[in-house]
Amino acid sequence: MSERGALAVAASLHLLLLGALSFSLAQSLPERQAEVDSTPIEFVEIGDEPTVTEPPKPSMQAAPRDPGLPPPSDFLAEAPPEVDKPLPAPVVRADDTAVQDAIAEEVVAPPPPRRQPRETKRDSFDAGAMASLIDKSLPDAPVKPRDTSAFAKSIEAALPKGAKVSPRAMATLEQAIRSQIAPCWNPPIGGADVQAMTAILRIRLNRDGTVAVAPEFVSQTGATPGNQAYARAFVETARRAVLRCAPLTLPDDMFSYWREFELNFDPRLMT
């Protein structure tokens, strides 16, 4: 087989794998079987219109029905629960963690060793103004201030060659984002698996700081087949933090840097 052919096969296999992983995310868990207790309770599918004993009057406010849901008459006709009959249990929808497992080893790189960044005259954005912004943002929030210089090296690496923005300005931008997101984040720290869990979301903002697209899940560490529900709840707390805190106030002249960025939610220092 030619090299070109082999590469084509490899590329299509990658695409297949990606497709298979995406598909498995949508898969549901098998139904759980419930047993009857002395006080009977029956799980029923509920429609967008709650069942009523007499038909409700037509209303302009009536919500549209999901086409996929059974009509209300389905559960009106349900027989009383029988002891031996397995009850229709709630279908637990949980994301498959195959993808998360695959990326679980991709632990976020540790911060680089501290290094004092050189002051530069190229500074195209007012760090002082940003600092005052940080000070103003939610004074009672327990944001741990971090030395901006610690991030300089990683930021420098992230900057495109020939960029006009100094590492210091970039670090200040990071700090501005952090100080506005952290007070809105309520991580589920009581969970048994919180020690090893982090999640990365991709954020896309409009120029006015509002969220342009719903935060997109990128990757997660610490998710296992046994903690899918917790892993999902964890990601949702992160997503909620972004939506709650938007719009963000960020320097307009750096819009090209914060139009799209990633947030790595890591509560390990909190526990």
Binding site: A11, D37, T39, T51, A158, C184, N186, E236, R240, L263
Partner: protein, 435 residues
Amino acid sequence: MIWRVFCALLLAAPAAATLRVDITSGVEAPMPIAVPAFATAAVMPTPAGTTADLGRQVATIISGNLTGTGLFRAVDPAAFPAPAVAQVTAPAFLGMRTAAAQALVTGSVTANADGTLTIGCYLYDVFSEEELVRQGFTVTPAGWRRAAHKCSDLVYSRLTGESGYFDSRIVYVAESGPRTKRVKRLAIMDQDGANHRFLTSGQSLVLMPRFSPVDETITYMSFAGDRPRVWLYNIGTGRQEAVGNFDTMSFAARFSPDGRTLLFSVTRSGNADIFAYDIASRRTTRLTNSNAIDTSPSFSPDGRKIVFESDRGGSQQLYVMNADGSGAQRISFGSGRAASPVWSPRGDLIAFTRMDGGKFRIAVVRPDGSGERLLTDSWQDEGPSWSPNGRVILFSRTERAGRSTLRSIDLTGRSDRRIPTPLEASDPAWGPLLR
């Protein structure tokens, strides 16, 4: 060659250039949640009240369950109007955001033609405006509280990712009468104290009730016939049965995680050893054989290990051994004594009573003996029992005046609550989630 470059770019491109910000801190405040009265399309009378009354009471129970965890804070229902039926599936999110709620629990109560009630339960994320989960529950009018507890469990597990514990029951010893002639009866109730009833008459002294993790069976110790020993009690059928046939006293029984085996202690000339009892075959196996008092055995959730207390080293301490009785290792150190260990259903911790400086306090420790943490600080807190999800610990507190009550505390130590009981109460045990 072009292909190779293309593929290299495809794999390498996303790695660089995107700004990534670490969020390493957050807030630990309870999440504000709105639970308005459940709607009803037509107000109908039921044996438990009208559907409108039930809608209000269901919301009150859910709100109480969630706020009681310490993880949620109920937004004042006056801050937003109770939704009509049409709004249950099309909520006014803007109003909820104004009221600072992050999640919305809403639903409806419907009286069915066959006399049952259907209670619909919906959970929404207020900021993403997404429906997170929905479930309907059909119950008899008398069982309407179970639907409220099931809805609470649904909401709790969806938002925290942990399983719930609201649709569960507690068995305990109800105490009455003077100190010198105490009457002790077994009693059972919902985890919130509702639907209370007594299981025994009080003629014989009863102690140490424990729930089977799988069915409606309780094990306890009774002095019936002046023969103190372990009994099994099926709550559903009311059938009782003495366990084993020992000449001496048997006590401190507890079920295995699969409900098939009982562990308990049997005394022998001043000492006590731990035995395993297979419920189906009624066969007994000795697990310890020491010249000390070995008692309070509790299985790990995988059934491979047993934690117990023993004074074999001179003072009462905790030990972990294999399920066959081999390889016992001491795990409690520090000052004072340690008693009544019970393994968390989550497996990560063991709760026990720490006795030190004249005080009894509830503590947790990892199964390897590390990370010991005191959760309470009162005069006499003892006898811990885990919630079905391993998040909350139930225990009894005796005040200096002698009064004894049931309390619960969550693992963070923040949510410390009294469980209401009609009489004084001790020795509580939390049952499994009902099906």
